[in-house]
Symmetry: none
Amino acid sequence: MSKTPVWKSIALSLTSEIAEGRYSTGDRLPTEAQLSAKHGVNRHTVRRALSELAEQGLVHARRGAGVFVAAHPTDYPIGKRVRYHKSISANGKMPGKKILTLTTRAADASEAEALQLEPGDPVHVYDGLSLADGQPIGLFQSVFPADRLPDILEALTETQSVTKALQRCGIADYTRISTRLTARAATVTQALHLRLPEGAPVLFSVGVNADPNGVPVEFGRTVFAGERVTLTLNED
Amino acid sequence: MSKTPVWKSIALSLTSEIAEGRYSTGDRLPTEAQLSAKHGVNRHTVRRALSELAEQGLVHARRGAGVFVAAHPTDYPIGKRVRYHKSISANGKMPGKKILTLTTRAADASEAEALQLEPGDPVHVYDGLSLADGQPIGLFQSVFPADRLPDILEALTETQSVTKALQRCGIADYTRISTRLTARAATVTQALHLRLPEGAPVLFSVGVNADPNGVPVEFGRTVFAGERVTLTLNED
DNA sequence: AGTCATTTGTTCGTATGTATG
DNA sequence: TCATACATACGAACAAATGAC
């Protein structure tokens, strides 16, 4: 029943070994032959795994010399037990939303991967602005799979709420299956929308929501005005 | 002579055919078998070429169907370097930590409230730096109730790990009961420690950890270098 | 310098699994 | 149902770069 390819599990294994400091930057990994023997697989299978790490920039191979650790993954799980869904609240309230654009177009690579679609598949896109007390606090973009949610744009127009629009499209409940957060400097466009000086610190959030069956229904990216927003992660 | 690998020349050939409109977006390329025959090479060699195009986002393979020319790479609206590796790594432990100071003092108002103490109660304080690849990625301060954890400083000195130090003090397990996140501009001191330019965007995190009974055991504040860190929130 | 074992890179061959239409 | 087409995996051989002797 192990649906995952062998090369993928080897890649994951190596990734965590690097992340945990088993190998540090500049270190040479075991040779392909050694890794093959260790995992009991063909050398090609190990090469496939190493190729994956190289693509992610974690390792770098030098012919005749070996494979070396180039960097450590800079992705930090901040809590295994953090129940995040229905928990992200910007100072408790996000009263107002303003629709900027509603469009339908082809999914790019990152959107397709997040929503488990093929690149080029149609997606509905909701660009908007979150307001509190008349002030903009967040600039967001929600991407929905068009074939799974054909009527989402209409529902969004009426409700202006992602949750309610999803409900109207038959998604009674949904769960956040992944979220990534980082701090950045506001671009010109973002600063303009959020009424911030260019380069002001913003909180950049990328997340995927899925229905109870685990099927992704929304891929969202939000830029919060750092000065005006504190994200709170709650239990249950 | 052409020291360039065969697969590379095939990849270039296919790239120009796509660029010249020989195949347009959505079209299906010839099958791997057909391409193998056409170029007089093994199927693996063609696959290596197609893998290159797929990595560049020019084509996309669908098992059982064929290889299709991907939609034109629509520019990422917000950020380009978002990484989506499904990290199932259970422990989010940081590779390196450096102790800056270990002190004992009286709790201020916010610390007392977070730890459910009275202001002025003694607390042990651990100031440190998180490192990855020798680069500082986070500047943190952990505050512990001194009466509940009298020997925590000693344990921290030896283990350099909050988790292990708490274990040594009898806290086998603990849970994050609250986390708040916001984006800020780095202060002079923070910039110095994190080796960032002053004013660079940083991710400011405040959290409380509690033992299984809900008794707070740690109040932590961390400033992450926004450029170098992405926080990942995982569901179980 | 040059030789030589080591190590990665490329290419072929073969077989089987799995999703598509 | 079933042929097609991509995905995974094993095995073999040689080329090319490296580094140590």
